[in-house]
Each structure stands twice: as structure tokens, then as C-alpha cells.
Amino acid sequence: MAEAVISNSAIPLADANQDALETAVREHGRLVYRIAYSVLRNHHDAEDATQETFIRVLRYRRKLEGVRDPKTWLARIAWRVAVERGTKQPEISLSEMENQAAVMQLRSQLASAEESVVGNEMAELLGCLISALPEPLRDALRLSTVEELDPGEIAEVLGTSESSVRSRLFRARQILKEKLAGVGRQV
């Protein structure tokens, strides 16, 4: 179904001229970067993946006559590039001290009524918890953190239905909450 985004309708990216590609870069460069960053969690790698995404677009644009939804099409390419690059990277794991600091921070934030900023340790702890999720849930959750994408577009990128994406997001959040609650109780 994701292939359905390709059609004969006129869109900027479908034109094989430089202006169309430039427009795509200016309009969707940030989206591509954020998708890459959601997977790779590193600015340099995310930028490299963004470059690679647009170079792939450059290579394939002659073969493609038209793309109905360039945003989703680009997001899909960016996702593939990032996942390919992400499989080559080692898993990130927190040290014992970082884990303790994150748990303490979580407890204090949950205890206080005010909405404080999530610290670095907490972000890393959350990253580790997300990495430990089952792949379908993890992919949906990662893409949901990119604010430019709605569940329908995430479904297009992942090649599934929107309802499936919503279901996966709900289950992923449940698992995360349980783990976070468990971490809070352990301390």
C-alpha cells in the first residue's frame, strides 16, 4: 500500500529538474533529518542519513514518473536509510550510575506536581527502554515522536494500516509506563 504513493499526478519531486529537488530539500529536509535522528540518536549520523536520503532521491527520480505524496515518500526513504544505518551501530546501554541517576530523577519528577524538564539521564533511560521494545512497537513509537508525522503518515511509512499504528502506539506506551513504574518502585 505504501507503493500507492507513486502516481502520475504532478508534484515537484516528480519533475526531473533541479528546482523540484531543491524544493523538496527545503520543504522536507528537516523532516528527513528528524526521522533519521529518531533512529540513530546522533546528529552527525542523522545528517549523513539525510544526505544519503536525498542522493537516493536523485538516483531514482528519473525512474519515477510521479509521486502523489512527496512528504510520505521521502519519509519512507529516510526511514529505510536510517534503519539500515542503525543496524550497523552498537546498542546503547546505560551504566549502573547513569541508571540510578535516571531513576532518582524520575521519582522526584513524579512526586512533584510541577512539570520539570526531562534531563539527559532520563532521556537516555527512555531511549534504552524504547530500544528494548518489540520491533513493530518500537518503530511506530519512534516515528510518532517526529511531530511532523501523523498516524496515517506513519502507517504509510511502515506499510501498515492507521489502526494498526494506533494500536501499536498504545501498547508501546503501556509497556513503557509499566517499566517506568517498576523502576520507580525498585528505588
Partner: protein
């Protein structure tokens, strides 16, 4: 976990996931991407038209050029050495043919006159080798240390030596006559040579 905690955790998770997804690229990302795309596009176009990637020769092409140049230089050196050794061999052959003449001449000419007559071909070879190398020049005029040889004179030679020392005038007359006779024979030989050749051909 009670309901209040659950709500708190939900809110916290929303906020944490929001920050998890927040990522701002470095300034000028679009410019960098477009610059790289321009380079990549040029490469793609060059590849599709079959033109070389760049005007600057690559290391691969330079390597081939250096290889050919080295091969040509090596071949030139080998040919030069071969030609040089060939000329040297030719010079040695000339020495071997010219030495007996010198020896015979010094000893008083025991060989028949026809053999001392310089062959035109041989003369040409000697001239050519004289002009081309130094080896031939030295070979035509042999070392005096070696010629005449250290071999003792034979009985006939000793008699001739005694005769010359005792009767030098007569010996000089005989030598002059002999030389004149040789010249006459040479003239006769050169006159009869074309006829004999034509007879052989018949």
C-alpha cells in the same frame, strides 16, 4: 500504581517522548545537502553520457601512463644493449680475420699472393667497423708486445735472417722484385676476376 500516578506517568511520558523526538539540525543543512546533490548529480550525468568523471587524470590512468613509459624505456635500454653487443661481436670477428694478415706481413709473406689480396667486401667491413667503433681501430694495428710472437724462429726463418744480415743489398733487390711481382699478379687477378666470375655463372 494508582490513578493519579498513572496520569502523572502519562504526562511525563508525553513530555519525555516529545523531547525524545526533538532534534534540530545544524544551521545550513539544506545548503549542505544541495551542494552535495549538485556534485552527485554532475557525477550521474557524466556517467550517463559516458564521459570521464573529471578532466584531472586519476591515479589509475596515471599508473597506466607511467607503466607504458617504463616499459618503453626498458625496451629501449634492452635494444641498445643488444645492438651494442652485436657491434662488439662484429668487431671481434674483424680482429680474428685481420690478425693473420698482419702476422704474415711481418714474417715476410709466406701465404700465396691471392690470399693477401684484400677482398672488397672485407675491405668495406673493415672500413665500416673502423668508422663505427674503437675496437676495430685497435684490432687493425696489433700490440707490438705480442707481434711478432714469442715463438722461436724456424730454421728457414733463421737462414733468411742470416742472409739478410749478410747481404742486405741483394735482399732488398729480391724483396723489391717480389713486391713488384705480387703487384703484377694482383693486377692480373683483378683483370681476370670478372671473366672467371662470368664463367662460373655459366
Amino acid at each position: 500504581m494508582n490513578l493519579r500516578d498513572d496520569e502523572k506517568l502519562d504526562r511525563w511520558l508525553d513530555r519525555a517522548l516529545g523531547e525524545y523526538g526533538k532534534a534540530e539540525p545544524r544551521r545550513g543543512l539544506e545548503g549542505r545537502i544541495l551542494a552535495n546533490l549538485a556534485i552527485a548529480e554532475r557525477e550521474v550525468e557524466l556517467r550517463s553520457t559516458g564521459q570521464p568523471r573529471a578532466a584531472v587524470p586519476t591515479f589509475g590512468r596515471l599508473r597506466w601512463r607511467f607503466g607504458f613509459a617504463g616499459l618503453a624505456a626498458g625496451a629501449t635500454i634492452v635494444i641498445a644493449i643488444w645492438v651494442g653487443s652485436g657491434l662488439r661481436d662484429h668487431g671481434k670477428k674483424t680482429v680474428s680475420t685481420s690478425v693473420p694478415d698482419a702476422v704474415d706481413h711481418n714474417r715476410g709473406g709466406a701465404l700465396p699472393p691471392i690470399s693477401r689480396t684484400p677482398n672488397p667486401r672485407h675491405r668495406a667491413a673493415v672500413r665500416r667497423t673502423r668508422n663505427s667503433t674503437r675496437v676495430e681501430t685497435t684490432s687493425v694495428s696489433p700490440h707490438l708486445d705480442q707481434f711478432p710472437s714469442q715463438r722461436p724462429l724456424s730454421e728457414q726463418e733463421q737462414l733468411l735472417k742470416t742472409y739478410v744480415s749478410q747481404f742486405p743489398k741483394e735482399a732488398a733487390v729480391i724483396a723489391a722484385e717480389q713486391e713488384q711481382r705480387e703487384k703484377e699478379l694482383e693486377g692480373l687477378y683483378s683483370d681476370n676476376r670478372p671473366n672467371s666470375d662470368s664463367e662460373q655463372e655459366r
